[in-house]
């Protein structure tokens, strides 16, 4: 018998601002965090939240993680000096696509310009992809299992999935999870552009016929996951249940999704099976919806294939239309937004959607939020994340 997992706290830093509610409310109301072709977290100033020492001991992606973490723990009602559970039963699983690439790039510049003696000694601990997992565990004094997940743009949804399993199977009573990315750096921007993955026009318009690539964004999110029974015993107010997840691999191409979306469809089916629900119970899909021609077409096919008739009855929207693609952080940031949307029974919009492409006929919630049609039943959503390398993860949530 698997244990039930609830989300008791969420926090986020995104191109729409600092805070999970800020992210959700601004997206819901149709604001965009994208300016000049990128989704920079312009409202985030590390010195507002972190000491000099904390800020210089961390790459920007870890700074996002720490600030989102403080918000999430506060919402969960955790006293950081007196954790609600034995610290050895609290884990930390945290994803990133690239890790501290800004640190790497600065180190390389110093190496080239001034030689190896000028390379900062903190380069490795700042750039390593598990730095956020380690720093969060240290920050909150967590002594359970902690590690980073690395699966490109599926990384933070993988983190949430594994955190869920750890609690379901009793390996942890609580897990701090999520993901962060800070890759708006010269090398990474140039590399994604050369790969022709990003929109030359700088417009994020998922599922629209004119879409021509994603817009890069940065940010991070943290979710506090707890064993539902233990959370109830301590009087916590859960925000959502994580019903289950599904994950598959395309085994098809290093960057392109399978054109028929078979891997993604398989992940959706697995998520439904793991959660013990039928397609008819799904009320909303928070799509991966990157705004690349291939993803959005394949994802549409996958949703239709896995959900059948239900796919045509429910809203499917993309947070990336408002914040761009946060790469490894996307899954976690979008999951926090989805939780808040589900709790309000709202499907937030896909911004910039105007032109339908032949065969892409789902309800993408163009331009404006709409209420979810739930009729008093449970508010259940799927959130998708697919990564370069062919990694597909789908998490199934129920609002509480």
């Amino acid at each position: 018998m698997k244990r039930e997992v609830v989300v008791t706290g969420i926090g986020a830093v995104s191109p729409l601002g600092v805070g999970a509610n800020t992210l959700y409310e601004r997206w819901r109301d149709g604001s965009s965090g994208i300016e000049n072709g990128e989704g920079a977290a312009t409202e985030f100033d590390p010195t507002d939240h972190l000491s000099v020492k904390e800020a210089r001991r961390s790459d920007r992606f870890v700074q996002f993680a720490m600030v989102a973490g403080d918000e999430a723990l506060a919402q969960a009602g955790w006293d950081r000096d007196e954790l609600p559970y034995d610290s050895t039963s609290i884990g930390c699983v945290y994803g990133t696509g690239i890790g501290g690439i800004g640190t790497l790039e600065r180190g390389k510049e110093l190496l080239i310009e001034h030689g190896e003696k000028k390379v900062p000694p903190l380069s490795v601990p700042l750039m390593m992809s598990n730095a956020a997992a380690g720093m969060l565990a240290m920050r909150y004094g967590l002594h359970g299992d902690s590690f980073g997940t690395v699966s490109a743009c599926a990384a933070s949804l993988h983190a949430i999935a594994q955190a869920t399993r750890m609690i379901q199977y009793g390996d942890a009573d609580a897990v701090i999870t999520g993901g962060a990315e800070a890759a708006l750096t010269p090398l990474s921007k140039a590399a994604f552009a050369r790969l022709e993955a990003v929109s030359p026009r700088g417009i994020s318009q998922p599922f629209d016929a004119r879409r021509d690539g994603f817009v890069m964004g940065e940010g991070g999110a943290v979710l506090v996951l707890e064993d539902a029974e233990k959370a109830a015993e301590r009087g916590a107010t859960p925000l959502a249940k994580i019903l289950g997840f599904g994950a598959t691999s395309d085994a098809h191409h290093l960057t392109a999704p399978h054109p028929e979306g078979t891997g993604a469809a398989g992940a959706i089916r697995k998520a439904l099976r793991d959660s013990g629900i039928e397609p008819g119970q799904v009320a909303y899909v928070n799509a991966h919806g990157t705004s690349t021609p291939l993803n959005d077409r394949a994802e549409t096919k996958a949703i239709k294939d896995a959900l059948g008739d239900r796919a045509m009855q429910i809203p499917v929207s993309s947070t990336k239309s408002a914040i761009g693609h946060l790469l490894g952080a996307a899954g976690a940031v979008e999951t926090t937004a989805t939780i808040l949307a589900l709790r309000e029974r709202i499907a937030p919009p896909t911004l910039n959607w105007e032109e339908r492409e032949e065969g892409m006929d789902l309800d993408y919630v163009p331009g404006k939020s709409k209420p979810l049609e739930i009729n008093g039943g449970p508010a259940i959503a799927l959130t998708n994340a697919f990564g370069f390398g062919g990694h597909n993860v789908v998490v199934c949530l129920e609002a509480l």
């Binding site: 000099v52 020492k53 210089r56 003696k117 000028k118 903190l122 601990p125």
Partner: protein, 82 residues
């Protein structure tokens, strides 16, 4: 050319460097311990880099483990340069 190594010069370099690690300037004296200033081994590797650049001597390995106070660090750098 490395700077001339006098106790005063090294003290000035270290006192100017420490605030970037988050130490309050007013808390720093020759007698303050790195532990009290919350300067750990990673900070010391960075401090060592600054000193090496300025004076051409390093505080690494056993040396770094021996020094407890700001004064210890200054003396070590001056003695190594001599």
């Amino acid at each position: 050319m490395p700077a001339t190594i006098t106790s005063d010069a090294v003290e000035k370099t270290i006192l100017e460097a420490l605030p970037q690690f988050g130490v309050e300037e007013s808390e720093i004296s020759r007698d303050s311990t790195f532990e009290d200033l919350d300067i750990d081994s990673l900070d010391l590797t960075e401090l060592s880099q600054i000193i090496e650049e300025e004076y051409g001597v390093t505080i690494k390995g056993d040396d770094a483990r021996k020094i407890k106070t700001v004064g210890d660090a200054i003396d070590l750098v001056v003695s190594k340069a001599g």
